[in-house]
């Protein structure tokens, strides 16, 4: 089969990219989705809070996905369900397999990678102890609870204060489980402030910052965990142990973009994001291969995934239509102090854009701060004020084209906290 555009993944990123490409005039599009239905992980996120930025209203995950699914069904986009992409070649041949379609090779002019991310596991963070049942990643427990209809435990300790863990603290409490504690190794939470308030404070669940689970005990099923305070090296401090009797440990200790296909295609990766290096239009180092959503960098809010993916879809449609200007001048974006990464990492200066949306995260919690954008000559091109910055909340600045045209060489995004 030949398509202009193949989108790998039918979650929020893939749906937005495909919809945007269709709206931009691309008429030969295929979405490859491994699950039985479109919507991705949103289908199990039955809580509300989605869409505040994009739709200016509060939706549940399935409702948010539903709006895009409805839209895609009104287009002529082909949808392959239960179809797994096994390989993407640098020539943009996508090998897929599905029960209904068998083994197929889709030949595309453009590919948008939207495979999403996976959760870090117990093995990834090497928690010592026995290996009983009852240690779940928060997302897996969420699937059992919201999709399959089963509660995985009654007395729960949550390690990590990522958003899924916080949401699950509330969800399990509502189902009658006792959530004993949320334990975070860092001195600050990795989740959104609103989730700390609505999911922990409102349910009287203690949050232990600078603590970790130093031992998991239990023969067949989790019986108890040992919690320890950690030092600046994030290792347990002897003598600070607390024992909590519980039957379940939920892990919310970070997400990893799923880039096995990107790597096999030869896409250049950014070790800071664990995602591809992209230009302002979400194009990767392989021309015609784009990436967006959580496969590119882990987002906090699906609203930003939608916006970012629409840009990828539009750019892919432009490429298929042959309207992409050929570009030689490339501007690099660099990380200054406190900034842990930026997306995009590069800008095609010849491309057709009025502003570039730059997303980034900070390494530490900052109070009142100034975000600055400087060029190689040291000229400050722009600066932005923020009341507070935190690693758990992605930041976004807009850089107008005019401003970039005046820059000398690469540009650097930095954060400087105001002196108290």
């Amino acid at each position: 089969m030949k398509y202009d555009l193949v989108v790998i993944g039918g979650g929020p990123a893939g749906l937005s990219a495909a919809n945007a490409a269709w709206e931009a005039g691309c008429r030969s599009i295929c979405i490859v989705e491994r699950d039985r239905e479109l919507g991705g992980i949103l289908n199990q996120c039955i809580h509300n809070g989605f869409g505040l930025h994009y739709f200016k209203e509060e939706l549940t995950g399935p409702e948010y996905a539903g709006r895009f699914i409805e839209k895609i069904h009104s287009t002529g986009v082909d949808i392959c369900l239960e179809a797994m992409a096994l390989e993407v070649t640098p020539e943009k041949h996508v090998h897929i397999v599905s029960p209904s379609g068998g083994y197929e090779v889709l030949e595309a002019k453009a590919v948008v990678l939207t495979m999403g991310c996976r959760e870090r596991t117990r093995g990834a963070i090497a928690i010592p102890g026995t290996r009983p049942a009852g240690v779940f990643t928060a997302g897996t427990a969420q699937r059992y609870l919201n999709m399959e209809g089963y509660l995985v435990g009654r007395r729960v300790v949550i390690l990590g204060s990522g958003d899924i863990g916080l949401i699950m603290a509330r969800r399990m409490s509502l189902e009658g489980a006792k959530v004993l504690a949320c334990v975070e190794v860092m001195p600050y939470s990795g989740g959104l402030t609103r989730n700390i308030v609505q999911c922990l404070h409102d349910f009287n669940i203690p949050l232990y910052l600078s603590h970790t689970i130093s031992d998991i005990q239990g023969k067949d099923r989790v019986e108890r965990v040992v919690i320890s305070e950690v030092g600046p090296d994030r290792r347990p401090i002897p003598g600070t142990e607390m024992i909590l009797d519980c039957d379940t440990v939920l892990l919310s200790v970070g997400l990893i973009p799923e880039n096995e296909l990107s790597r096999s295609a030869g896409v250049q990766m950014d070790p800071r994001t664990n995602g591809p290096v992209v230009y302002e239009n979400m194009e990767t180092s392989i021309p015609g291969v784009f990436a967006c959503g959580n496969v590119l960098h882990v987002h906090d809010l699906v609203d930003f995934v939608t916006a970012e993916s629409a840009r990828a879809g539009q750019a892919a449609a432009a490429l298929c239509a042959g309207t992409t200007p050929s570009s030689s001048q490339i501007m690099e974006l660099k990380n200054g102090p406190v900034v842990s990464y930026t997306v995009p990492q590069r800008i095609h200066m010849a491309a057709d854009f009025q502003t570039v949306d730059v997303f980034f995260r900070v390494r530490a919690v900052c109070g009142k701060s100034r975000i600055t954008v400087t060029d190689e000559a040291g000229t400050c091109l722009a600066s932005f004020r923020r009341e507070r910055l935190a690693p758990g909340e992605m930041e976004n600045i807009k850089l107008p084209r005019k401003l970039l045209e005046n820059a000398q060489g690469s540009i650097t995004v930095s954060v400087e906290e105001d002196l108290a």
């Binding site: 491994r34 239960e82 797994m84 096994l86 090998h95 397999v97 599905s98 029960p99 209904s100 379609g101 068998g102 083994y103 090779v105 996976r118 959760e119 596991t121 117990r122 093995g123 990834a124 090497a126 010592p128 102890g129 026995t130 290996r131 009983p132 049942a133 009852g134 990643t137 997302g139 897996t140 699937r143 059992y144 609870l145 999709m147 399959e148 209809g149 089963y150 509660l151 995985v152 435990g153 009654r154 189902e175 009658g176 130093s214 023969k219 067949d220 099923r221 347990p236 039957d247 990893i256 799923e258 096995e260 790597r263």
Partner: protein, 480 residues
Amino acid sequence: MFDVTIIGCGVIGAVLARKLSQYDLRILILERENDVAMGTTKANSAIVHAGYDPEPGTLMAKLNVQGSEQMEKLCRELDVEYRRCGSMVLAFSAEETATLKTLYDRGIKNGVKELRLLSGEEARTMEPALAETVRGALLAPTAAIVDPWGLCLAAAETAVRNGAELKRGSAVAGVEDLGNHYVVHTASGNYESRYLVNCAGVHGHEISAMVGESEWMPKHSRGEYYLLDKSSGDLVNHVIFQCPSVLGKGVLVAPTVHGNLIVGPNAEPVEDGDDRATTQSGLDQVAAFGRKSVPSVDLRQSIRNFSGVRAVTSEEDFIIRPAKNSPRMLYVCGIKSPGLSAAPAIADYALEKLKEMGLAAEKKTMWSGKRTQIRFRKLSDSEKAELVRKDPRYGRIICRCETITEGEIIAAIHSPIPPCSIDGVKRRTGAGMGRCQGGFCGPRVLKILADELGKDPMEIVQDGSATWLLMEETKGGSGK
């Protein structure tokens, strides 16, 4: 009345059962767990050692070299993953360089072929990731890596297909020696058998005690490991050992047949043979030793930690002999490293012992020792297409990380030894072995197991029979 009852279905019991199933014998295998390969077999370095470690003249030396020679053919017959990747023992000092020479000489005496001593430079040319501090190495091209639980499963399945009976959930509670036969009391009932073979691994001494024997005592030794993601799987091509020390054969860094990198084990005495916990200090020790050999090993790529317990005993050598006061019980005990490597030769040797003990064994005319398994991910594109055309369930990928299909999982569930747990499916198919550790496929595998076995999802366990996963239905219910 059974002719031979094997107690314990780890790799030693399973390979012996397959061997015995060639003969016209009624064979029973008793396993205390809900699956085979649940002890040391599922938690070890997965190495087929060349055979330069054991002291010449020991059973370990003889059976290691013989077993290593037979292993490739056995794995081919059973369609078990095996790769002869070779091994290196590293020396970091003049003293260790002398140890390499000792190992080399021992290997020659033991009959190990193709051994070579390398300079540090030569070793680094072959393995560029080795530390600059490596001064020399002993290269053993005949060493290999293998899938230990895959071997156990395949051998046990073959035995069952050839008439052996396997009873799981059958922990032995007592053994009565009635002079010409035994009565074995187990959790699943009582069984009569003319001969007993004690393959109970770290619990071997408990079985011996049931016939009043205490000729040897356990000295369990636990080893902890890191298993790294496939992205680190080709950091080294050989099994990289350090010189043997108080830590056994020392911490190794090695590829696995599944494409991962394994780092470990340390060696720590434990009281309880089932104590497979990991500890911060143990993992730190493994990390430090691993980095000494291969400084670039990146433990942030870890996908799992585990530990296994070596069946070390008060005797230096393997214990393969009849019990003194109960002459129709054969010990196949104290099978620590290189037990996996020696497994095929241990089976041959144990059969000879049983014959010496009076077992009359006639070869069957009909015996099929082969077994095959469909592995979707290993097929060519056209083979994949053909397979999905014939059975669309092979087109539904359940485990994304390892590319395991519904067809493979269902085939495993209907195999001669059906899995009854999520980890049972993992050991048979590889589903859940990858970097997400079953985060995505776990709930799906659980559902397939429940559907195929006609069970309630709440009955499906993670691994052992009491490793419950689901506690209760939610307020809205599961909708079933």
